[in-house]
């Protein structure tokens, strides 16, 4: 089990969190102008790096806040985190 450092509550068991996928995926500025393929890319295509990966987490069983964390997907070490609005 991962020990995930919530920016508010400190380190907690992974079971207290909900995973929110890749961070910093911007909503398209003009969705209506997108082709089907571009829309599908926005909805379903995500990076899958070996190494540092910025992702979103929600501390569902705790403070219920979203935050971003940089996790190394090869070692599961969480190297950084930031509070998000």
């Amino acid at each position: 089990m991962l020990l995930i450092p919530c920016p508010w509550c400190g380190p907690r068991d992974e079971a207290e969190f909900h995973y929110g996928g890749q961070a910093h995926v911007a909503y398209p500025e003009n969705p209506a102008a997108l082709s089907d393929e571009e829309w599908a890319r926005y909805l379903f295509f995500r990076d899958n790096p070996k190494g540092r990966f910025a992702e979103r987490w929600n501390h569902t069983a705790g403070c219920r806040r979203w935050f971003n964390a940089v996790r190394n997907t090869a070692t599961n070490e969480i190297e950084a985190r930031e509070v998000t609005a």
Binding site: C9, G62, C63, R64
Partner: protein, 187 residues
């Protein structure tokens, strides 16, 4: 008239020298959301007798208990029948704040005595050592996989806030885990 039954009305309190478990039913509980830097937050703190705690995982006690739930969220707990909602609304005035009576959402199990930390540690991953989780600390976390709000009080006393629908399960679990401290022979 219908009798009001608490979620653990059928739970018999237990007590040994080292451990006491009992329900504290019908406490008044208000969920409060307000910008901690706002004038309203300060006014609400004045009305309740203590500033809203802004350090994560801490609880302030005055006329009511003010439990930190999040950076802009608190659980205000007072005795049965108290109009805390009215007090907070009057203090907040027309300011932007969320004030919700959630008294029926959770009941409270008091776990007290020198063995209370040992008992809770059976199902809670937090470090409950008094050095880390002493009086005035609180946390939303999991106890025996049920979501709870844990609050440490003076002495070795804890309040476990648990959702009403999970209360029976959690009380059963506590009794099972407490066997070795209550001198009960396992079945």
């Amino acid at each position: 008239m219908a009798e009001r039954l608490s979620p653990l009305a059928r739970f018999t309190p237990v007590s040994s020298g080292d451990l006491r478990i009992a329900e504290i039913p019908f406490l008044t509980q208000i969920n409060l959301r307000v910008d901690p830097k706002s004038r309203a937050a300060a006014d609400i703190g004045l009305a309740l007798g203590a500033p809203l705690p802004t350090e994560p995982g801490t609880c302030a006690s005055a006329d009511a208990d003010l439990l930190w739930l999040g950076p802009d969220e608190w659980l205000v707990v007072g005795e049965r029948g108290r109009d805390l909602e009215g007090t907070i609304r009057a203090a907040a005035g027309t300011a932007h704040a969320g004030i919700t009576d959630v008294s029926a959402q959770r009941t409270v199990v008091a776990v007290e005595g020198p063995r209370s930390r040992d008992l809770l540690a059976h199902g809670c991953a937090l470090d409950l050592h008094p050095r880390v989780f002493g009086p005035g600390r609180c946390a939303q976390t999991m106890l025996a996989r049920a979501q709870v709000v844990l609050a440490a009080r003076d002495g070795d006393a804890f309040r476990v806030f648990v959702r009403s629908s999970f209360a029976g399960y959690l009380a059963d679990w506590l009794m099972d885990a407490a066997g070795e401290y209550l001198g009960v022979t396992p079945r």
